[in-house]
């Protein structure tokens, strides 16, 4: 039984579990205390001082980090408290680049919202020296504009605490403090995995993805180019949020319609390639198990995870599946199989991937992910960038009728759609591997043991006579934990799924940014994942090998899984990377 304690917030008595913070207790008393630096499970440092409350002491206390004590009496709405919060907010404003009108986060900015909420009348009350910084746009995925940084450190928490990477942190001190990489290194010179969790943690416009929409518009407008687009599974679970739809709304049909209206020549689906990935990966696993290959085999769909492995755990590179990630497979197939069938010179094809991910931008530039001197994928834009393009094009997204993807590489099974959440690749692989190994039909396709938002999940799956031990980890922090246990000999698995972002792609660094005011109280990852599981549930075909277009591509082009041609086009290699570049 959880021990409960009683506290009084603004005269209202509430019962909260021991260990609750005053912020949590206040919410129970229907009091919203403003916060800026606080981001649940990511940053609990109490440094912005906007959530201060009066607990009767000499100084005010930060509600976000203050544990409740029995009988505590808290005032959140005294003139002194309001003035203190307002002053601290105005101080932040006094050193903030207030170009709000053109800011990418305008109207989705927590600082802006707080100014309104706290009634800031004069943004210049404490005007004074302002710090100026050069924008760091060296990374192909992430842009840092410290002129807008409010030093809340949520990005630091995401990078260091959640992802266990820590390539950014506070440098200098006092008024000169800035969030940067050490030794005046730029982000591109660090062992950053481009996951973009810093971006989705940022309350303001200090961190954004590298904008590639200009290149995409240019390709669309270039009549000599045949522009093919493919959206990743997780994009459909979140894109609607950008248009005011509730979190967890699946917008697959509207998305396909919108992509077509933007002017893409072909609207394929990365889900198709996810099914293709399962064909290759499940067979690779079976091959490794039966022929004494390196085990455990670890999935390779997440480019954040791949770069993490290359920098921090190179000893596990032989364990990585050699399969390219789904959108890269799709790119390779578009520029060979599709080009051939459509009679288009691959040089004239531009492949655009819409991804929930900023690491995909880096992945697309890997030289090994190319064929005949052509990159498999030419441009990667995030869910947010797609939303921006749809808005720029004046498309009334929410009113669009559902449309289908184009055929040849547009069909997918339920196994593919769940790729977008942690455990999804594992579940999809198990569905296919089970039937390939046993030759029997899998009746219950739901492997619920690998579902859910826990950082590390384990399961033992009966495949025929075999007990297959599997594990699923999401976030590189949890991946590191899991790999350490394997290194120490504490754990032993056959197959592991690792996703670089906590919760998998639904919570990727390229997904719509949800304000901390919501994230602190709701699990957006579960809601978005639920959209994918519902879509899986609704499909008649839920196993990758049942996808008719997949059968067709093997029949007509690839032969069989792991064939020589498949290896040439759908598999890749990895290299150890240094910690400092």
């Amino acid at each position: 039984m959880e021990q409960m304690i009683t506290v009084t917030i603004d005269g209202v008595q509430v019962e909260v579990p021991a260990g609750s913070t005053v912020l949590e207790a206040a919410r129970k008393a229907n009091v919203n205390i403003p916060t800026l630096c606080f981001l649940k499970d990511i940053n609990q440092t109490g440094n912005c001082r906007l959530c201060v409350v009066d607990c009767g002491g000499r100084a005010l206390q930060a509600a976000c980090v203050l544990p409740c004590t029995p009988g505590m009496v808290v005032k959140t709405n005294t003139p002194a408290v309001r003035e203190a919060r307002k002053m601290n907010l105005e101080l932040i404003l006094s050193n903030h680049d207030k170009k709000c009108l053109s800011c990418v986060r305008s109207q989705n900015c927590e600082l802006q919202a707080l100014c309104k909420e706290l009634g800031v009348e004069d943004g210049d009350r404490f005007a004074g020296a302002q710090s100026t910084y050069a924008i760091d746009d060296t990374s192909v995925s992430i842009v840092r504009d410290n002129n807008k940084c409010v030093l809340c450190r949520r990005c630091v928490g995401a990078c260091a605490n959640v992802q266990k990477i820590g390539v950014i942190g506070p440098v200098m001190r006092g008024f000169k403090t800035a969030i940067e990489s050490p030794f005046e290194k730029k982000l591109a010179q660090m062992a950053c995995i481009n996951c973009g969790q810093c971006i989705t943690a940022c309350p303001v416009g200090a961190l954004t993805e590298k904008d590639n929409t200009k290149e995409v518009w240019a390709a669309i407008n270039d009549t000599t180019k045949h522009v093919v687009v493919q959206p990743a599974p997780a994009v459909r679970a979140a894109l609607g949020e950008e248009f005011g739809m509730p979190i967890g709304t699946s917008v697959t049909g509207k998305m396909a319609a919108a992509l077509r209206r933007l002017g893409f020549d072909k609207v394929f689906d990365t889900d198709f390639a996810a099914d293709l990935t399962i064909m290759e990966e499940a067979n690779e696993l079976i091959d490794r198990v039966t022929n004494g290959g390196v085990l455990p085999m670890i999935t390779s769909c997440s480019p954040g995870w791949i770069k993490f492995c290359e920098h921090y755990y190179p000893e596990f590179l032989p364990n990585l599946s050699s399969c390219k990630s789904p959108h890269e497979m799709a790119g390779a197939m578009i520029k060979t199989y599709y080009a051939q069938k459509a009679g288009i010179d691959p040089k004239d094809i531009v492949v655009v991937s819409v991804m929930p991910c900023t690491a995909k931008k880096f992945e697309a530039k890997r030289p090994e992910l190319s064929n005949n001197g052509l990159f498999d994928v030419d441009h990667v834009i995030t869910t947010r960038e797609l939303a921006k393009m749809i808005k720029e094009a004046g498309i009334n997204f929410t009113a669009l009728e559902d449309e289908d993807f184009d055929s040849l590489m547009g069909a997918s099974t339920g196994a593919a759609v769940i790729f977008g959440t942690t455990g999804g690749v594992m579940e999809a692989a198990l569905r296919t591997a089970y039937e390939v190994i046993t030759g029997e039909t899998l009746e219950n396709v739901n492997f619920t043991a690998v579902r859910g938002m826990e950082g590390i999940k384990e399961a033992s799956v009966k495949v025929g006579d075999l007990d297959v031990n599997v594990a699923v980890a999401s976030s590189t922090g949890k991946a590191a934990e899991l790999l350490d246990m394997i290194k120490n000999g504490e754990k032993n698995y056959t197959f592991i799924e690792i996703m670089g972002c906590p919760g998998g792609c639904v919570n990727g660094g390229g997904q719509p940014i949800v304000s901390a005011q919501i994230r602190n109280w709701e699990d957006i990852r579960t809601k978005r994942a639920q959209a994918l599981y519902s879509e899986d549930e609704a499909k008649t075909l839920r196993k990758s090998h049942e996808n008719p277009e997949i059968k067709q591509i093997y029949d007509e082009f690839l032969g069989k899984p792991n064939s020589h041609k498949a290896h040439e086009l759908l598999h890749t290699t990895y290299e150890q990377r240094d910690l400092y570049l």
Binding site: N47, R49, A84, N88, G128, L151, P170, M172, G174, F175
Partner: protein, 597 residues
């Protein structure tokens, strides 16, 4: 066995080392050998005697003769006269005042020392800090022995609570209570930490103790370890204290060699060892949570309390942290008892406090007085008053975290509560005296400049708020103050005090708020009359030549800006537009004809 009839104690504190005491020691050794006295006279390098103003300081025992400002050349005379022939070298003996005829031969005769009571500094200047045997000779490690063989951890804590010892690092939290909290936390590992990250400008109490009596800290930490159940200790000391670090390390090594640190101390089964960690000199690392993060290898930044160190401290384990001076008191409290300790000082403020006296005062140096000593006694009796016949204006206690105390409060008794009541604080013990020439706005600006520079940058009010306050102060001293600035300073100051994350941020506005309280008229004069009443702020003063001028032309020759004109034997004139306000003319004028307005 070595037999020495006389001991020459040469101060080896940082102050005296800077003024050349190392050469003195060398010269003494050479001269003693040359005179065949090296077998009967021992030269000992000790810790700080406190009267740094008079350094380098040499004391010759058994007479206890107190020689001051000794130069290498003086050594020969002391050896041939005093040590060989037994004649005290009167002209080298310390004099209270320059014009004074009478000399005081021993420490006890000197006004600087007479009102003092040296508890924390008891061994400083008495023992060779690099020799553990000397510490043991003066009852060293006896308290540890007593604690381990006769007392339970609970007894120790109760004795500490009874003694009323409060943290000497600034906060004044009861040490016994702190130990009790740490003792109550259950854990497989606990830590005892010594905060030796002394960072207040001008303060050097802790440095002197570590330099002069490092074993007292080691012994106290072992006692603390026993009381709270910690087997490991860390001393966090700034790397800028090389002598202190060296002697402390030597002391730790010697204590280990004697088995006073390590396993099974005194055969009681108690294990305790300790390590030094060097700080890179960030002021904020004196804040206990920041200090612990720095030991852990992280950035030295405070984290919110709770959790308090006693619950979750160093490496997330329950920890107790006290400062150097606090520890230095503990062995004596154990040996002499809590009742003895409470008999010193005033109720609720037992014992003594060490201060580093500096600024506009005759006797700068280290002083230790019983709590409750009137501030006036420290300034006038011990400090010898203000030099050059100037008037006392204020004294800043508590460094950048404290506040100024004006003349009207000179008679307050020095203790934690009285100082806090008047808007200052005890702090770690810096005491900077200001006279009529000090501009209080500029003093506030000086301290805030320090805090802004040393802010860790973590929380908003300290990172930006103190910077904004500093900008306003800079404006005011430059004559660009605007109506509303005082009110803005107050708003910012009060809110930073209320909302900053750590103690350093919360106290940062104190110098401004206390000068605003006692010297508001100086702020007003700067802002509304564009005038600095102390004639200190360069931008707000004009040099003028009065009719005392004889027309000697010296001033016009020395003026680097060519701002002074006039013909020989006639009154000269300064062109204020050209004047750089460097003051060179005023210095040169032999007739006192140039004045600052």
């Amino acid at each position: 066995m070595d037999l020495f009839r006389a001991h020459v104690l040469v101060c080896g504190g940082t102050g005296c080392t800077s003024s050349g005491s190392a050469e003195l020691i060398k010269r003494f050794e050479e001269q003693l050998a040359a005179n065949g006295l090296d077998k009967e006279v021992k030269v000992v390098r000790t810790g700080c005697f406190g009267l740094c103003e008079a350094g380098p300081v040499v004391i010759v025992y058994p007479e206890g003769t107190f020689y001051s400002r000794i130069k290498v050349e003086d050594v020969d005379e002391i050896v041939t006269e005093h040590l060989l022939k037994g004649r005290i070298v009167n002209h080298l003996v310390y004099k209270e005042k320059a014009e004074e005829e009478e000399t005081h031969t021993t420490l006890e005769d000197i006004d600087f020392y007479r009102p003092q009571m040296r508890l924390a500094l008891r061994n400083c200047g008495r023992i060779d800090p690099e020799n553990i045997d000397e510490y043991i000779a003066f009852d060293g490690y006896k308290a540890l022995g007593k604690v381990l063989t006769e007392m339970s951890p609970e007894d120790v804590i109760q004795e500490m609570i009874k003694s009323g010892l409060r943290g000497r690092g600034g906060g004044g939290f009861p040490t016994g209570k702190k130990w009790q909290f740490a003792a109550a936390s259950k854990a497989d590992q606990k830590y005892i930490i010594c905060n030796a990250d002394e960072g207040d400008p001008g303060a050097f109490m802790d440095r002197s103790i570590l330099e002069g009596d490092p074993h007292s800290v080691i012994e106290a930490m072992a006692i603390g370890g026993y009381a709270i159940g910690a087997s490991e200790g860390y001393v966090y000391v700034r790397a800028e204290y090389p002598i202190a670090v060296k002697r402390l390390q030597l002391a730790i090594d010697q204590a280990r060699e004697y088995g006073l640190l390590g396993k099974d101390i005194f055969g009681t089964g108690f294990n305790f060892d300790m390590y030094i960690r060097l700080g890179a000199g960030a002021f904020v690392c004196g804040e206990e949570t920041a200090l612990m993060h720095s030991i852990e290898g992280g950035r030295g930044e405070p984290t919110p309390k709770p959790p308090f160190p006693a619950v979750r401290g160093l490496f997330d384990k329950p920890s107790n942290i006290n400062n150097v001076e606090t520890y230095a008191n503990i062995p004596q409290i154990i040996l002499n008892g809590a009742d003895w300790f409470t008999s010193i000082g005033t109720p609720g403020n037992s014992g003594t406090k060490v201060f580093a006296l500096g600024g506009k005062i005759n006797n700068t140096g280290l002083v230790e007085v019983p709590m409750g000593t009137p501030l006036r006694d420290v300034i006038y009796k011990i400090g010898g008053g203000i030099p050059n016949g100037k008037a006392f204006k204020a004294v800043q206690t508590g460094g950048p975290s404290g506040g100024c105390i004006p003349a009207e409060n000179l008679d307050i008794a020095i203790d934690y509560d009285s100082l806090t009541a008047i808007g200052s604080m005890m702090g770690s013990g810096g005491m900077i005296v200001m006279d009529e020439d000090n501009c209080m706005v500029d003093i506030a600006r000086f301290f805030l400049d320090f805090t802004v520079d040393e802010s860790c940058g973590k929380c908003t009010p300290c990172r930006i708020g103190t910077k904004r306050m500093l900008e306003i102060l800079e404006r005011i001293v430059e004559g660009k103050g605007e109506p509303g600035d005082i009110e803005k300073l107050e708003t910012l100051g009060e809110n930073i005090k209320k909302t900053a994350l750590c103690g350093l941020g919360q106290t940062a506005p104190n110098p401004v708020l206390s000068t605003l309280k006692y010297f508001r008229h100086e702020y007003e004069a700067h802002i509304y009359e564009k005038r600095c009443p102390a004639h200190h702020c360069q931008k707000l003063l004009n040099y003028v030549i009065t009719d005392k001028c004889r027309g000697c032309t010296l001033c016009s020759k020395v003026c680097p800006a060519g701002a002074i004109t006039g013909t020989v034997k006639e009154q000269h004139v300064i062109d204020t537009a050209k004047c750089l306000k460097c003051g060179a003319c005023m210095e040169k004028c032999r007739f006192g004809a140039i004045e600052k307005h």
